[in-house]
């Protein structure tokens, strides 16, 4: 984890973040935008909790949805009990219930999963995830079976006039918990446990030889991470007013992994970026095309191959160049590369959409884009899009070489200046 000591800058950044949270629904107004913002807020907490495991602790988990999902289930039952009047508890503090539930399961499963590290840990987490998912379907009494458990968030006494009926109120609830969680999880990275989690990630053997039980470090890190996952689960429960087996599914676990990775695992801010991009893909894109999961998969694989540090790494790499005021030299190569990429993307989208149209039973095979229509059953559009894709890829190859050469020259200069 890069730790750059900031001074006044620290307050400016946190203040700016708080401001963004406050102002976002005013900038992105409208029901659809608000839905996305709420889901982004929840996903940010979830992805940050996941990165406590992967980025900070070196633990790759394929079953993190277990903690958020079980947190969600306990929250939904608590909410229903509040609704029935069994006890009074402010809905505002429901994420605490989810968090504690997540933490409890973190203790339970964490004991088993953290006995091993590395690839074995990853597979064990997958196994636990599958087991919990199967169990949830086996006990419809508590988990509601296929339909899940539904609830009503407008229950109990209104808090300062807030009922959480309107979406905007839900947004500010999510935003507050999100901001607090970000602060808390960042603070945790600055503690002895947080530092030793990094040490265990980098060199578990050495960590043992300076007096630390690596298994215990990983266990504690997982327990803390599952608390925040539970918080995210509770917020999801409040937002959607329904919790089902899908909340503990391997798909959810895969989703948070993809989101975190796309954003950037080695950086604290990475998962925040990744969560925003991921929700955008899933919510916005899925409205436009049936192929959104394919596009997400391709994007993810491309990131793994070409940018394993995620979007955050690409952005942060520019900072030394910006400081040296030489970003302008890269403007043209970047523009060329972006243009080539867009061309290739257009060709790819054309082909993918046409394939989807053909494979769908009873759908029209005519594709309408920018006022032009292409019939997927005829040959010319295929050749056309294939050519566009090929041209884009070739152009991208040249453009990326140009970027690489320009980048290398700048890096050499920067190194020479430093020496």
């Amino acid at each position: 984890m890069r730790y750059e000591p900031l001074n006044l800058g620290r307050w400016v950044i946190w203040g700016a973040m708080a401001l963004v949270f406050l102002v976002a629904p005013l900038v992105f107004s409208g029901g659809f935008a608000l839905t996305m913002l709420i889901q982004m807020g929840t996903m940010i907490i979830f992805a940050l909790s996941y990165n406590m495991l992967l980025g900070q602790g070196g633990m790759l988990s394929f079953g993190h949805a277990v903690y958020s999902g079980l947190g969600a289930f306990l929250s939904v039952h608590a909410l229903n009990l509040i609704g029935k009047g069994a006890f009074t508890f402010p809905v505002t503090l429901l994420p605490l219930v989810g968090g504690l539930a997540g933490l409890a399961f973190g203790v339970l499963f964490g004991y088993v999963t953290t006995r091993r590290a590395g690839t074995t840990f990853a597979l064990i987490s997958l196994g636990i995830g599958e087991m919990v998912f199967a169990c949830v379907l086996m006990f419809p009494g508590f988990f509601g079976g296929e339909a899940g458990v539904s609830t009503n968030r407008v229950v109990g006494q209104p808090f300062l006039g807030i009922t959480y009926g309107p979406a905007i109120q839900v947004y500010y609830l999510v935003a507050t918990w999100c901001f607090l969680s970000i602060v808390a999880m960042f603070a945790l990275t600055q503690t002895p446990l947080g530092r030793m989690a990094n040490a265990v990630r980098d060199n578990p053997e050495r960590a043992e030889f300076v007096g630390y039980d690596t298994q215990k470090v990983r266990f504690l890190q997982l327990v803390l991470s599952s608390f925040f996952a539970g918080v995210a689960g509770a917020l999801s429960c409040i937002n959607f007013e329904i919790v089902s087996a899908e909340n503990v599914s391997p798909i959810r676990s895969g989703g948070v992994l993809i989101a975190t990775y796309i954003g950037g695992v080695p950086f604290f801010l990475g998962p925040i970026l990744g969560a925003i991009i991921f929700i955008f893909f899933v919510v916005a894109l899925s409205g436009f095309t049936k192929a959104w999961l394919l596009y997400l998969g391709l994007f993810f694989v491309t990131m793994v191959v070409y940018a394993p540090g995620g979007i955050a790494s690409i952005l942060l790499m520019q900072i030394p160049v910006i400081r040296a005021r030489r970003l302008g030299e890269l403007a043209l190569p970047y523009a060329l590369a972006a243009g080539a990429a867009l061309v290739a993307l257009a060709g790819l989208i054309g082909i993918v959409e046409m394939v989807y149209r053909l494979s769908e039973q009873g759908a029209s095979t005519v594709l309408n884009v920018f006022g032009l229509s292409f019939d997927a059953q005829t040959t010319p559009p295929w050749i056309g899009f294939a050519l566009v894709l090929a041209a884009g890829l070739v152009a991208l190859r040249y453009a990326s070489r140009l970027v690489g050469a320009r980048w290398g020259a700048i890096q050499q200069d920067l190194l020479a200046r430093r020496a």
Binding site: V112, R115, L123, I124, G127, M131, G297
Partner: protein, 296 residues
């Protein structure tokens, strides 16, 4: 008695299929250090290819052609995909194969749709093989066992008796030395990866029509294979063998036994969870697996 025999035979044939899958995974992991998360996806591709070929031409050509196709795809993926990711470390390799699993499943959705396809046992293999007391044991199950055993024996022979096999065995522990001796280790890696995927594809050819061929089949059998690998001990073929048979029989018996357990749950409902329970128990009492050798 009859029930016990029939279910044991079923369990063994299922276990052998699982071993075909887990052995390919273990070999690739032992050699390249990368766990192929998409291994079960190649199993699925084998089944779908076999379905396509058997409806157009016939089952017997499919038995040969489909695994070869899958192996070829595996080699291409290794050469153009996995090899690029190798320099980023094991986590990146695992995540690459993870993304690959998504992509393969989407591709299958695209081409063959979201519901199961009617991949059937060929008529000449459809029928009773022999009769145990009053039950008839199907020919196809016997065929499955035959193919599994034949394939595993030939892989074992290829590894221990041929030159390329010896090179592979040497490269398992000392890739740089083997390369220094003039062998093309990257090509060996590509062949082994392709071999592993072809093995998975073959398992798909014979398993796809015995069980079901649908886009979710990779996601349902994949985790069980990983459990087998963990339970048997990462990197141990003997362990994978024992774990495969153990889990194969355990699941077969659980599904067949219609016992009523506590809380209104039947044994057959518990069947999908059993391998994971076994894994959890093993982890508590014997964390390195039955015969653990290599730490992931």
């Amino acid at each position: 008695m009859e029930f016990f025999l029939v279910q044991t035979l079923n369990g063994i044939s299922y276990g052998l299929l699982l071993f075909m899958l887990s052995s390919g995974l273990t070999l690739v992991f032992s050699l390249m250090g990368v766990l192929n998360f998409a291994h079960a996806s190649f199993y699925m591709l084998g089944a779908y290819f076999a379905y396509q070929i058997s409806t157009k031409i016939g089952f017997w050509p499919a038995l040969v052609v489909a695994p070869v196709l899958v192996g070829a795809i595996g080699m291409l993926i290794e050469r153009w995909g996995l090899r690029q990711v190798h320099k980023h470390g094991h986590v990146a390799e695992l995540l690459f194969t993870f993304g690959l699993a998504y992509l393969i499943e989407e591709a299958v959705h695209l081409v063959w749709g979201r519901s199961a396809v009617d991949y059937r046992v060929p008529p000449d293999l459809d029928g009773p093989l022999f009769t145990i007391f009053t039950s008839q044991y199907p020919i196809y199950r016997g065929f499955m066992m035959l193919v599994s055993v034949a394939m595993l024996v030939s892989v074992w022979l290829a590894l221990t008796r041929t030159r390329i096999g010896l090179v592979i065995q040497a490269a398992l522990t000392h890739p740089q030395t083997v390369e220094a001796l003039g062998h093309n280790v990257p090509r060996v890696f590509m062949l082994v990866f392709g071999g592993g995927t072809a093995l998975a594809g073959l398992a798909g050819v014979i398993g796809g029509n015995a069980f079901v061929t649908e886009p979710g089949m990779a996601a349902s059998v994949g985790p069980i294979i990983f459990v087998i690998v963990v339970v048997g001990g990462m990197g141990s073929l003997a362990g994978a063998f024992i774990a495969s048979l153990l889990i194969g029989c355990m699941q077969t018996f659980a599904v067949a036994l219609d016992w009523n357990l506590v809380g209104g749950i039947k044994m057959s409902q518990l069947a999908p969870v059993l391998p994971y329970l076994l894994m959890v128990l093993l982890l508590i009492f014997r964390p390195t697996g039955l015969m653990g050798t290599r730490e992931g």
